[in-house]
Symmetry: C2
Subunit: 582 residues, 2 copies
């Protein structure tokens, strides 16, 4: 090694040692005859000094010829600092420079390499190597490494086997859009990049692998949002001869193991909620359970008071925001504007303030007596100091709108602390969703999810009512993982694909290999996949997944650092037997 120590490890007990350090110049200061330089590497920061009165002019000159982000090698003696810095792990010592070598100079970086930077998003992405030098970004990737490591530790110890499934696979029409790869050797044919290793992990179960996992890149050619990337990583798992309960136990265990080892948090037993309850009580299949504020339905109670909007509503439902009774007119107007935004689409918002002085004030005083409001308050558990917010209209829409309002109130009331973690299993999802536009059913999870045995008879009569043994893990209102018990019998798989609009020929062309595999002794099986980028960002207390990915793409799917995608040579296109449309 060019160094004897890294920049984070020297302590007072190392005093008088001769050491060599390598790293980047964080800053350089000249204070009346003393030159200070902070040397940085992945492991920390160490102060280097030289004094006009004692050091050779050559050393001083060399130090002063450096600048931010120069790479240098310093040899010198560890000395105790006179002015110690308790905030730095190495703050008790400094290195008295005796030799300085500039390994590589640096141009002035286009933004500050500090925890708080002045670089905008595009600039940080173009110079990602400089952005990655910042502690905050590096720590995100160190967290990711830890998450990876402890995930493997947990699963390895349970006898799961990591099997790599192929990346060059086959395009399937169901689900999101595939990225495709033209085959040179098979003219006119294409591979697809996997959206998940779903069919391969099921094949591994048919092959008797019993317990499989993989931390694996997956791909989806979708229009991008802030928290979506064309390539993303999954913790992908599958088990045989299990019930749903075994999967929930095993992977609740994984999440607990990660919280314990990565964050030293003892996650309590993860509560469970049916999809139906989640929709009814939170208007969402991924409720943020860091705070309560459950929906309370007051349709019967609130109708018949000549308030037309309520009287015509399918559902009248509200939340009780504790301690918000003294919201100003302006704040209440903001909430009304919030729910009326086109993304949410409510027509209006009804509020009832249970003031701290005991009075009740509402936006519907014209129609509701104090006694009426009191009754509503009782039903909703409102006390002095609370604010009730009520929406009404078509049931499903209203619940979705109230979900947004509930989250907004949670944020406003400081109930969504990023360092508080609340995990939840949401279960018993419907097997199918009806697409009004396409006039057909879609798989809520994917085409391989098994119906609950007790609902299987409904497949012929009322497919929309069939529930699945499917489950999502939700942490702080974010779906971090999901899975299901799978179909493992050919006739049921054929029926399912039929319901999804596949002709028998299409079903065979796409999934024939899987259905054929089911005929050669497929075991009952099920699994789960966690969104690894998302899971890391939740653990890191961040909203976006982008800073937990070393080299993310922007919203146009571009890597601005390497400037990709890019045109390719005509010779390459020729070899692949494809043309670009003009």
């Amino acid at each position: 090694m060019l160094r004897t120590h890294n920049c984070g490890e020297l302590r007072i007990t190392d005093t008088d040692k001769n050491v060599t350090l390598c790293g980047w110049v964080q800053y350089l200061r000249d204070k009346g005859g003393v030159t200070f330089l902070a040397l940085r590497d992945r492991y920390g920061l160490t102060q280097i000094i030289a004094q006009d009165s004692k050091s050779s002019p050559d050393i001083i000159q060399k130090l002063q010829s450096t600048g931010r982000e120069f790479v240098i090698k310093i040899t010198g003696k560890v000395v105790e600092r006179s002015a110690k810095n308790p905030k730095m792990p190495t703050g008790d010592i400094e290195i008295y420079a005796e030799n300085v070598e500039i390994l590589n100079p640096s141009k002035v970086p286009p933004f500050l390499i500090e925890d708080e930077t002045d670089g905008g998003d595009e600039l940080r992405m173009k110079y990602r190597y400089l952005d990655l030098r910042r502690n905050t970004v590096r720590q995100n990737l160190e967290l990711r490494h830890k998450m990876n490591r402890f995930t493997r530790e947990y699963l390895d110890n349970l006898g799961f086997i990591d099997v790599e499934t192929p990346v060059l696979i086959k395009s399937t029409p169901e689900g999101a859009r595939d990225f495709v790869v033209p085959s040179r050797m098979n003219k006119g044919e294409f591979y697809a990049l996997p959206q998940s290793p779903q069919t391969f992990k099921q094949i591994l179960m048919v092959a008797g692998f019993d317990k499989y996992y993989q931390i694996v890149k997956c791909f989806r050619d979708e229009d991008l949002r802030a928290d979506r990337q064309p390539e993303f990583t999954q913790i992908d798992c599958e088990m045989s001869f299990i019930t749903q309960e075994d999967i929930l136990d095993t992977f609740e265990g994984l999440v607990k193991h990660l919280f314990k080892n990565v964050k030293d948090i003892d996650l309590p037993k993860v509560p469970r909620m049916t999809y139906a309850d989640a929709m009814q009580n939170y208007g969402s299949d991924k409720p943020d359970t860091r705070f309560d504020m459950k929906f309370v339905e007051i349709t019967a109670l609130a109708q018949g008071k000549n308030f037309g909007i309520f009287d015509q509503a399918e559902l009248i439902v509200g939340i009780c925001a504790k301690g918000a009774s003294e919201y100003t007119r302006k704040q209440l107007d903001e909430l009304t504007e919030f729910v009326k935004r086109p993304q949410i689409g409510a027509k209006g918002l009804v509020y009832v303030q249970f003031k701290t002085d005991g009075t009740i004030k509402s936006s519907i005083d014209k129609f509701f007596s104090q006694e009426d409001l009191q009754k509503i308050g009782e039903k909703m558990g409102a006390e002095k100091g609370d604010l009730i917010l009520i929406l009404s209209g078509e049931a499903n829409k209203t619940r979705k709108q109230l979900n947004e309002l509930r989250l907004e109130m949670g944020t406003r009331l400081g109930l969504r602390d990023k360092n508080t973690f609340s995990a939840l299993w949401v279960m018993d999802f419907p097997l199918l969703e009806y697409g009004e536009e396409e006039k057909r059913y879609f798989a809520m999870h994917h085409p391989f999810t098994a119906p609950k045995p007790e609902d299987e008879h409904l497949l012929d009569t009322n497919p929309g009512e069939v529930r699945a043994n499917a489950y999502d893990m939700v942490i702080n209102g974010v779906e971090v993982g999901g899975g299901s018990i799978r179909i493992y019998q050919r006739p049921l798989q054929e029926k399912m694909l039929g319901l999804l609009g596949f002709s028998p020929e299409e079903a065979k062309a796409q999934f024939g290999f899987l259905m054929e595999a089911f005929e050669f002794g497929a075991p009952p099986h099920g699994g789960i996949a966690f969104g690894f980028d998302r899971l890391c960002s939740i653990f890191g207390g961040a909203d976006s997944i982008r800073d937990f990915i070393a080299f993310p793409k922007n919203n146009a799917g571009r890597d601005v650092m390497i400037d990709s995608p890019s045109p390719i040579a005509d010779a390459q296109l020729n070899e692949l037997s494809i043309l670009v449309k003009k």
Copy 2:
């Protein structure tokens, strides 16, 4: 779980327990009133029995209605076997069946699910899920999992950080052919799949990550051979502030750690050999050092004897095959035919037999006296019982031919045992190779490899003579890994790309981001990558990598199980703005 135990864990101490097992029917036998069934899962095999005299007719009937590869669930009591089978870990016990449930029937598999199968390659690949049920294939993948696990353990403990680099990157003209991915959002532009994360890992060093690793899929669109796959896996590593010695130490340590933990073998210190010595002594940059049989050059000694072929040769070189003096005429003819095959291309083979009776017999007796032959024998260390084999001609060609003959002799003499492991570092590779056809230099390793500092001055005058700090690890004659110290300064990188025929514009378009990164404080760095599929196959004692990959592709790049690649819909092509050429 549907089971209480797996099929590999019950022992005599479990006698009288009531257990439930799930698995596949390995075989079913009816021996005069006793039904035997062997139940198999990933963990082992357990014998199930039922007796006409004691068991219910229903149980017997159910057992007998099963067949090979049926998936069943058996509940029963563990009993001691009267005829124990010491070859099976569960061979002391059997399960007396009390309940039998058929979880899934199976069609008759198209080949035997046994260690030795009757299935041909194509059939095994089409029904890969059945092939993977065979112990031998499953064990290969279990070995691979272990290799992965212990690689991570070693590198994690040394502070390496696993960083995922992108799969959708940019096509580069240097090196092998890229797979490309049309971008829907950037019309007419393409991503490429990485042949290695080379530039990204160097960027991570510039970013200060210090020690990086990744076990990562890479892609190469090349014509395939038995031991090549379009997608393959690398253990990819890079370190900063190191010398070549640090890399050799660190990764010799990795290989030792793997041998110790995966195979319980203490690998001795790995010897080192220069490229020049390897070529001179073995005619190969990846010599199989499980056996000696070094080349001995006898040009001076063997010329001037009026044997025209020798007299006109640039090089006369031989090997001494210990104990092969009594090879028959037929065997010697076979060897001559071997070297004359077009793949090898020698014109002929000269042999000298130092017979056990003390006589010397050669194919050049006409020109060489016994004394001459004796001298050659002495030079080559031949003793009574040895066979000398000599080739001559143009130096480089002759060495390559003799390398093939040496390996053939090693095989014939049983010196290449798959359970013996001999590792070697080959070092000091030339930086550049001259392409006679293209009339330009090519990077022997890749364009980012640094010249040896002491040879750097030759770049301008004699590039072909420049050696690199590049190294390969060779095990049993197979290159399992290779790496180099990298260029980290822009001017040198520009010069290197210039030597490789890049115009300044091309260099900037392809690698501008890397050269720009070098200007913002790039540390000295270097690394290595191991071919993970190949490393696993060596550890598994196999020649082909295919059985160490769960779902390999055939030589036409096809996955015959899922039938991929395949045509895609016109709508997909339209969205991607590409056409297939008719």
